[in-house]
Amino acid sequence: MTTPRWLLCSHKHQTTTPRPNNTPPTIEPPQHARTNHSNPLFTMASLTKLNADSHLLLEQPLLRFPHDLSRRNFKTAQRYLENGTKELTTTLAKATKAASKSASPAASLESLDAMIQKMQGMKRKLEGLHEEELRIHKSSKARLQYLQDLYDVQSLDDVKYEDWSQKRLVRLLVDYLLREGYVESATQLAESKGVNDLVDVEAFVACHRIERSLREGKRTAEALKWCMENGQGLKRLGGMLEFELRLQQYIEMVRQGHEAGIGDGVNGLGDGGMSLGSGNGASRLVEARLYAKKYLSASDDFELVGRAAGLLAYRPWDGVEPYASLYSTDRWNHLAEMFLDTHHTLFSLPVRPLLHIALSAGLSALKTPSCHSTSSVPIPITSSSTPICPICSTELKELARNVPYAHHTKSIVESDLMMLPNGNVCGSDELRVFNEKVGTVAGWVRDPLGGRSGEAWKEAAVQKVYIL
């Protein structure tokens, strides 16, 4: 971690840290007390103290996601076992009955073989789920260990905290990359940093596959299958995703019906309307109606159901609202967004990337009015004792332009400030050290910001500044 300019050169700087050499602080007359950052509310110890519990705000999804995944995994296993049991007992009962009647051993053997095969199939499936389960638990354990490491760190200035926080950044980056669909980079980054157990590449890849199938493939099948697999969770959540998917499926059937209707010739289109009489198109429309009856009629949104029914009478190219917007291909984007929202909520994932959340807060906490100032002196490159502020650095400068700057109730300046004739202010220690270093003639001073060949003034022209 870089040290700010005023800590680099000054041991005299008044802070509440214990001095390395344990010299007592110099006593200053009260009205000219040195300014400092030691706000009574925030002592140095409290500023650097690490409260692991409150630090976990960003980490909840880290543990929740695998837990939700393993619950889903378990539910699937339970379903397999239940169905398998039911199936086996009925087929066995049937086989027994058949055997008692016809007494053909060959048939009995055959049905037994089928049963054995079924059971073996089920066993294989369960083994696959068991493997997945153990993988998830292993990663959960690694995550707990990673969080435990944080509890073992006491101070934000500790090198161990930096290591931990670097790892967290990798995690946030991978999460961001996965959400943006940059799977290759995410995988590479996670592997090169050895954090595979701390990130959920497969789960996000699966999520994106479904999102793409909606947005680009314009198919509902994958998303509907996902709804099936997560039925219980979705019921608890009470969202509209499945209904909207069914509605879309219906819309597509109606669209196909109308489009096929053109090919059926003029018989149905005499007066510009569509009759549900005959032809290929008409039969598709009938199918669509049956589909709607099966999946959509249970909804209590009568208005929407009514509109859906109206589609049968209005063709996609009629351009009549509200039917045109139901036919619109924009609905696929809407469904994709809705799927992502539902997916993230179901698995306790924040809707926006964690990186955004951490970075937004961090930009504001670090930003000062000077960062985007047009009038203050350009500090960055001229002095080597000044680390460049992260907000002023190219990476974040534009990004931080629109966030609010941090609130301060106390000035934070070097101790013993001196004002140079050009209006620039700097700490007396820094001034002395710089001028010694650049070899300014005794009795004269140069501005550290002006560099080695800057203007020199007589020492008498330098004035002490008091900032309260």
């Binding site: 870089t2 705000l57 909840q60 076992l81 066995l92 950044l169 961001y176 290759e184 807060a361 680390p387």
Partner: protein, 415 residues
């Protein structure tokens, strides 16, 4: 944490699908046994099947029952999670100011990866980001992100497309590798020498520090490639090196050069000499490496530590405070009045302060471009607006000392 770990260990150890899978295997064995029996005694098929029914049913029931520990285990772990994260909501998107600037985020990430030396990840990322450019989304601060989108895209393109940054950082990592792993100072010294004017103007000691370390290495008996040689020759080599290289440092570093030369007198027993600290300083290499990194990044206009790292870390430190604020505001149904400034102070460690901050002792407001700090002739500083309000354009008394002055004598302070 301990409770969570215990639960996970239980889930890993026994409370999982393993037992049920064994039960299924037993069922399969029952079926195979029955099959074998029917094969050997075909006439008993009906009775074999009939007697098979209840054991098969029982065995599968056991399989279902054996799921219970896993079920309870998962529930218990979930409850422990609830307890752990009680009162800790998932972070919401309310503070999100960034979704409207995805290109800038991608640029920051690309630069971060490059500066960390993750060149291959960076190039994969740049490739993917170019193939699938991100879409800005409106945020409270930027309700109409598409206005700036193309401009930001161009800005990001520079960083994403140019191989320059990668070359820079490639060079930096080469030099650092030579320094840290090979203990070879030559590339670093060459780099510093080429830029010695700029470095000197910045008041940087880097070049001298590197050369001094080279002197020390030669003295204790390493040759210029970092290999150990007959140590008796060391001081002579060092002396020759000083003669040829220290010339330009004579004026600025007179004292340091003198000390190094003084150490020559102790060449036989440097350990017990007053110069020991120069020669047996384990951290010297790491120090020059850090100082080199800082200078290298500064010359590129970049901070030495990754801004992305510092900002996300600061953000994590700030989040609890911001969350508390959000809750209070929700309760009171207020919004902050000053959009430009956070309404609450974030307690960041001092190492996260990079600029001087001036808060006017009269108005308690932070100085800005339009309201800069002003110093009165007595040396006390207040913000310009406070000065105008106190003086009303005429002579006035300093609020902190008996001195009287005219506002036109006050001078703007550049902190």
């Amino acid at each position: 944490m301990d409770e969570l770990r215990e639960q996970i260990e239980l889930l890993q150890g026994s409370a999982n699908l393993a037992t049920s899978i064994d039960d299924v295997q037993k069922t399969i064995e029952l079926l195979t046994a029955a099959r074998a029996k029917i094969e050997t005694e075909p006439h008993k098929a009906p009775i074999t099947l009939a007697t098979l029914q209840s054991p098969v049913k029982a065995s599968l029931e056991v399989a279902q029952k054996d799921l219970k520990p896993a079920y309870f285990g998962l529930n218990k772990y979930g409850k422990a999670l609830d307890k752990k994260f009680k009162d800790k909501p998932l972070p919401t998107a309310e503070n999100d100011a960034l979704s409207s600037h995805p290109h800038l985020i991608n640029r920051a990430i690309a630069m971060h990866l490059l500066r960390e030396g993750q060149f291959s990840v960076a190039s994969t990322f740049i490739d993917e980001a170019n193939r699938n450019p991100p879409h800005p989304e409106p945020t409270p601060g930027t309700p109409n992100p598409y206005l700036n989108d193309s401009w930001e895209k161009d800005l990001a393109k520079d960083a994403l497309d140019s191989k320059k940054l990668q070359q820079h950082f490639g060079a930096m990592y080469h030099i650092l590798h030579e320094l840290r792993q090979q203990r070879n100072l030559r590339p670093a010294i060459e780099w510093a020498r080429e830029r010695s004017d700029v470095l000197e103007a910045r008041g940087s000691n880097l070049e001298f520090e590197l050369c001094r370390l080279q002197f020390v290495c030669l003295f204790v008996g390493q040759d210029e490639n970092g290999h150990m040689t007959e140590s008796a020759e060391g001081p002579f080599r060092a002396w020759a090196y000083a003669r040829s290289e220290f010339g330009p440092f004579q004026i600025r570093y007179a004292k340091e050069v003198q000390q190094l030369m003084g150490s020559m007198a102790y060449w036989q027993n440097i350990v017990d000499s007053p110069y020991r600290q120069y020669f047996y300083n384990e951290s010297a290499w790491e120090e020059v490496a850090l100082s080199f990194t800082r200078e290298f990044c500064s010359l590129l206009g970049l901070s030495a530590d990754s801004p992305l790292y510092i900002a996300t870390t600061a953000g994590a430190i700030a989040l609890p405070t911001l969350l508390k604020l959000q809750n209070i505001m929700k309760e009171k149904r207020t919004e902050w009045t000053t959009q430009n400034e956070l309404p609450v102070e974030i307690p960041l460690p001092p190492s996260y302060h990079f600029h001087s901050i001036f808060v006017c002792p009269v108005s308690k407001e932070q100085a800005t471009d339009t309201n800069p700090p002003m110093m009165m002739p007595c040396g006390h500083v207040i913000a310009k607006e406070s000065l105008d309000r106190l003086s009303k354009g005429a002579r006035f008394k300093c609020p902190y000392c008996p001195n009287e002055s005219h506002p036109r004598d006050a001078r703007t302070v550049f902190l």
